[in-house]
Subunit: 207 residues, 2 copies
Amino acid sequence: MARMTPDRRREAIVDAALAVARRKGLAPTTVRDVAQEMGTSSGLIHHYFESMDHVLAAAFERIAGEDLAETEALLARAGDPRAVIAEFLDSYAPVGDDWAFQLWLDAWAEAGRRPVLREASSRLNLGWAALLERAIHAGVADGTFTCADPRGAAWRILSLVDGLALQVVAHQTTIDRGDMLAWAASATERELGLPAGALAVPTPPRA
Amino acid sequence: MARMTPDRRREAIVDAALAVARRKGLAPTTVRDVAQEMGTSSGLIHHYFESMDHVLAAAFERIAGEDLAETEALLARAGDPRAVIAEFLDSYAPVGDDWAFQLWLDAWAEAGRRPVLREASSRLNLGWAALLERAIHAGVADGTFTCADPRGAAWRILSLVDGLALQVVAHQTTIDRGDMLAWAASATERELGLPAGALAVPTPPRA
DNA sequence: CCGGTTGTTGGACAGGTGCGCAATATCGGC
DNA sequence: GCCGATATTGCGCACCTGTCCAACAACCGG
């Protein structure tokens, strides 16, 4: 089809891969799927990417990186440290069938077997932990939080919400978004030395 | 090969599937892999299982169910509630390349796409939460723990250790077993109203 | 307007996938 | 010892997988 500059084409391939992965998941996405989604031949994809694993890693990195950047921007606007953490928890809890988090599940599972995906998944996860650690430091600095170990607290909070979101997305029935929000809030309050209920409802006090 | 009774053969198939899954992971395990592992033809497998998904679900259920039962037995021998929880955390932390936990990662990822696997994974996960909730109730009853919401605490602790173990197994480098144990212990102490350090080292106070 | 650079094609290649079925081998009951 | 029941085989079917490459076509500098 239409001839593109290499940069644009690479982007188009990643876009198409992401569109397919959204429907089918990361691992089941094939070269031919992506080619068909773009409306091109499949040979084109190997002209730009060393292997299919690299395409999938790039697709995962795109969506996970965007999510991270958006959250970063969201938190920058949130105001005081308490609101930042409340906003973080609310935005992390899956809504509906959260295909982005499903891609995280795929990435974690594949990370053990595909080095290229492990690299991407590991890097993005470290990014989330760092984001959270910065938010905690800010709250400790201005006296909102009490926390002796911000790095540990960041990993504990992140692991908790990952573990909870995992149940919501993978099993759908065991626990729901409401449970997740309530439980993540109460644990995080304890973690940051906040009074019980301080993180209960993210934005306006409305039930 | 050797003719078997249906019950024995079903067991042999599940055993073989588990042996392969241990090496390759759950999703990449194929009918032919399992047949070769047993030293039989592949047609035999479809004579006993409705589909390959059912084989994989049975294999996962076998290993996850055994783990759960072993932990249940371990905790029954552990003594006081504090020791039970300490033992739980220690046994949950992955050692080396934890192939059993890798199967959990596979199961969670596939749960969204394969109903048969979702059913198994969901049920086993509920089993672990119930185990933990019982242990907490016991500690609250005899005054060792202080916990207003044992069900929530069970899910929070389970989700936390799942999230931490996930990092250890999938990424290998981001955090290690030591971090995981320390962080799981400190969060659980807060969760159960124990003094800091009460769960620090599982068995003997050494280092 | 032409020629070389290069984005793109489309199919070949060697293998792998789950599943189903006729034929065969082996067993337990008589 | 035979025979019916059934465990097991071995292969075929239709399809999918990543990767590669010779041929083609579109664009850009001259």
